[in-house]
């Protein structure tokens, strides 16, 4: 599950550097519909992994950072895709599934089990409806580009301080509906400001980070590093990002909360399924960072950073308060008193 397959990747949109994308699986045999979908995806900032009905379960199983699934009512042989819809929905119930239907067909023509598994349908050629579904299910939450840029910068700085002499690269930010956990370990830390409240999660693989520690390219200096040292690296990395976030956006004043009900939602972790739910179906903001050894001696290590603002999200207040945010703090310098 951790190493994505290399399915046929549809044309990627070309958004600005900090614009948020989403990745989707597309099961579509009709060339005309596929061409129209590409145009639609370009406009809606979606990147598509194309799969056949046969390969779709494997492509789904190999990708943990998806936003939705698009498929057609029938496959290239004229057989319905109902069993596939049901199977994909059962495998990943958090992902909205959208079905293209032939003109004149509607959701009422589908078996109940299939219609329940679908988030929405659109008629062939009706990409206006497809865009509505995308906006409703994927992009209902707006992440300001400047905010995305700032938190990416904070994280890159923390990663470069944590992994010395390593190259750190980041993919275009994207939103995910999946609730799956990448790798064997993750850190979780609350984030809070006057306009947002939720969590930051950093997920990674133990052995890859352990190799970097063994190569003495982290702050840890020990002859026999163990998983506890991996925890220490990930913990301090999370701490630095949290500190930058707090220094930049401040904390909600405790005074503001006096006398008000402070909402908390249980976080559910299913270890067997590598699944974590924060009690909200809102799309999560995700960054994929890759830490690479410039000498080529170490395997690259991947870290997924997810922001889950499940408790409060008011980006319009970010725009208002952004004029008064704190200046970025210069780190590493001694301020003498």
């Amino acid at each position: 599950m951790n190493s994505p397959l290399n399915p046929d990747v549809m044309a990627q949109p070309t958004p600005s550097e900090h614009e948020v994308l989403s990745k989707v699986i597309v099961v579509e045999h009709d060339a005309q519909s596929l061409a129209a979908m590409k145009a639609c995806f370009e406009e809606c900032k979606l990147g598509g992994y194309r799969a056949s009905p046969e390969s779709a379960p494997a492509v789904l199983g190999a990708n943990i950072d998806l936003g939705a699934i698009f498929l057609s009512e029938v496959d290239g042989n004229g057989h319905d895709c109902f069993a596939l819809v049901h199977a994909l929905h059962m495998a990943r119930p958090d992902l909205p599934v959208f079905m293209r239907m032939a003109p004149g067909h509607g959701v009422e023509d589908l078996p109940e089990a299939v219609s329940k598994a679908l988030a929405g349908v659109y008629a062939t050629g009706d990409y206006g409806r497809a865009k509505e579904l995308i906006e409703t299910y994927l992009f209902s939450r707006h992440y300001p580009n400047e905010f995305v840029s700032e938190i990416k910068g904070m994280t890159l700085a923390a990663l470069r301080a944590s992994f010395k002499g390593m190259q750190v690269e980041v993919e275009q930010p994207y939103i995910v509906k999946d609730k799956l956990i990448y790798g064997e370990l993750f850190s979780l830390i609350p984030l809070e400001s006057n306009w947002c409240r939720g969590y930051m999660m950093l997920q990674s693989e133990e052995e890859k980070i352990l190799d970097i520690i063994r190569a003495k390219k982290t702050t840890v200096n020990t002859p026999e590093p163990t998983f506890r040292h991996v925890n220490a690296v990930l913990g301090e990395l999370s701490n630095m990002v949290w500190g930058s976030f707090k220094n930049r956006y401040g904390l909600k004043s405790l005074q503001d909360g006096l006398g008000q009900v402070r909402v908390e939602i249980p976080i559910i972790v299913n270890h067997m399924r590598k699944y974590i739910s924060f009690g909200s179906d809102d799309a999560q903001l995700c960054f994929k960072f890759t830490v690479t050894d410039p000498d080529g001696k170490l395997d690259s290590s991947v870290l997924y950073q997810k922001f889950i603002f499940s408790l409060d999200w008011a980006p319009e207040k970010y725009d208002e308060s952004n004029q008064n945010v704190n200046e970025l703090v210069s780190s590493g310098e001694l301020e003498l008193f």
């Binding site: 923390a158 301080a161 944590s162 982290t218 702050t219 840890v220 200096n221 020990t222 506890r228 040292h229 925890n231 220490a232 690296v233 913990g235 301090e236 701490n239 630095m240 949290w242 500190g243 930058s244 707090k246 220094n247 704190n326 703090v329 210069s330 780190s331 590493g332 310098e333 001694l334 301020e335 003498l336 008193f337």
Partner: protein, 121 residues
Amino acid sequence: MAQVLVVDDSDAVRSEVSGFLSKNGITVATAVDGKDGLVKIKGDPGVKLIFADVNMPNMDGLTMVEKIRSEVGNKTVNIIMLTTESDAGMKERGKAAGIKGWIVKPFNGANVLDAVKKMVA
């Protein structure tokens, strides 16, 4: 007897700071939180400089600093906060307790070595 005490709940930070100082000929002891830091400073009153984190379990760094001055009665040890925090109110609290400086993480040893050497001399 150590010259410097590094108080941080992060193994990574303790390792980094103590490793850097040791390489530069400075003897170092470590503590895992504020409570542990208090115990260590009581047991080794000859420490000249403390690097302390702010956010730690059991006892935070600023509370530890205040207790070092009040409960332990050590008015002379130099203290530098090494933290992700940069809140002005926290710095004022630290100044009131007589800290000497503040570093926002990450730690950059080369930037502070001269000052450290003066403080432990």
